[in-house]
Each structure stands twice: as structure tokens, then as C-alpha cells.
């Protein structure tokens, strides 16, 4: 164990959240819950990223009164990356949900295992 586990509690929490999301995405057989897991996983990564930009005692990177000094603002890069990331995860969520609807109209279940069982029974 390294020295910074408790200082980095935010990152630790996001790591745990990441794993919870990951587990949900991997293990839940219900598609909707899988998708929620995916969203949790993505949010965890964004939290992880946002923690990196944070510097104690500084304010958001919006220039106030034309003061442009590094001493004053937090790091803007992670925020920018997270913004991009959020768009990606919304798109993916929409796509996954529409896939879910399509699968449901066809197989009348949200359970992925059951779907694959049905598919194999079809034997096509």
C-alpha cells in the first residue's frame, strides 16, 4: 500500500464506484441494470478525472475581473475532458436503450441469458 490512500479518498471512492459499475455491466443479466452499471462506471471515471483537476482553495476556471494567474484557478483540462466524456456516455446509453427495446420487442425479456438460450434453441 502506498502512502496516499486516505488523502486520495475521492479517487479511492471513484475506483470503488468504477468496480461496482464494471461488475454490474459484467454480471447483471438484466439489460437495463447493465446499462445503469455502464453509466455508473462512466461517472466514476469522470469523478476520478475531475478529482485530478481540483486544487484546494482555488476557484473554477472562469476568469474573474480579467485576472489570469495560475495561482487562482483550478486545472481546466480535466473538466474539458469530462465534458467530452459525458456526451459520449449519453450517446452510448441511448444506443444501448434502443437496442434493449428492439431485443424486447423480439424476445419479450430483458434477461440476456434467456435471450441467448432462445437464440440457440432457434438454432439458426
Amino acid at each position: 500500500m502506498g502512502p496516499n490512500l486516505f488523502t486520495n479518498y475521492g479517487e479511492a471512492v471513484s475506483a470503488i464506484l468504477f468496480c461496482i459499475g464494471f461488475t454490474n455491466l459484467l454480471l447483471q443479466t438484466n439489460l437495463i441494470k447493465k446499462i445503469i452499471g455502464l453509466n455508473i462506471m462512466d461517472s466514476a471515471i469522470y469523478l476520478f478525472l475531475a478529482e485530478k483537476g481540483y486544487i484546494a482553495g482555488r476557484i473554477a476556471p472562469i476568469v474573474v475581473n480579467g485576472v489570469t494567474s495560475t495561482e487562482r484557478y483550478i486545472n481546466p483540462i480535466p473538466s474539458g475532458l469530462v465534458l467530452t466524456g459525458i456526451v459520449v456516455s449519453v450517446s452510448v446509453t441511448a444506443l444501448m436503450l434502443s437496442l434493449t427495446i428492439r431485443l424486447y420487442t423480439r424476445y419479450h425479456t430483458l434477461d440476456l441469458d434467456e435471450i441467448s438460450t432462445q437464440l440457440k434453441k432457434e438454432g439458426k
Partner: protein, 91 residues
Amino acid sequence: MTAFQIILMGLLIVCAVSVSFSKNLLNAILIYMSFSLVMSMLWICLESPDLAITEAAVGAGITSVLFFVTLKKIHAIDASEPDTKEEKENE
């Protein structure tokens, strides 16, 4: 501020875990919605208002709406084909 952050993070983990174990899909979605809200609060604490706005609009707003409409659609599909619904209920 730190204590507040820690509470929020604790809430995040609670939300995430309870999503995994909730049996009802609607509950799961609602919990996820609150997860997003907590997340956006956390981002305010982390001095990232851009993210907070976006997360509030997207995570709590759009994504949840999409989840709801999916759920509704699924119930509609079930209702439109009564046979399958009965089967489901029998189970």
C-alpha cells in the same frame, strides 16, 4: 467542505450498491437519477460548474427520461400482446 464531500461520496456508493441489488427496475432508475444528482453536487464542490450543469441536465434529466421511456415502451409491448403478459404473470 471535506466532510460534506465525504458524505456525498458515501451517498454515491450507497446509491451504486443499492442499484445493483434493487429488484424493481423503476426503483433502480430512480436511484440512478439520485446518483446523478449527487454526482452533480459533488462537482460543484470540486469547482467544476460546467460539469455540474451538464450532469444535471444530462444524467438526471435526459438519461433518466430515456430510461423511463424505455421502461414504458417495454410495458406497452407486454400489454399489446396479452398472451405473453399472462405468461409473465403466471411466473
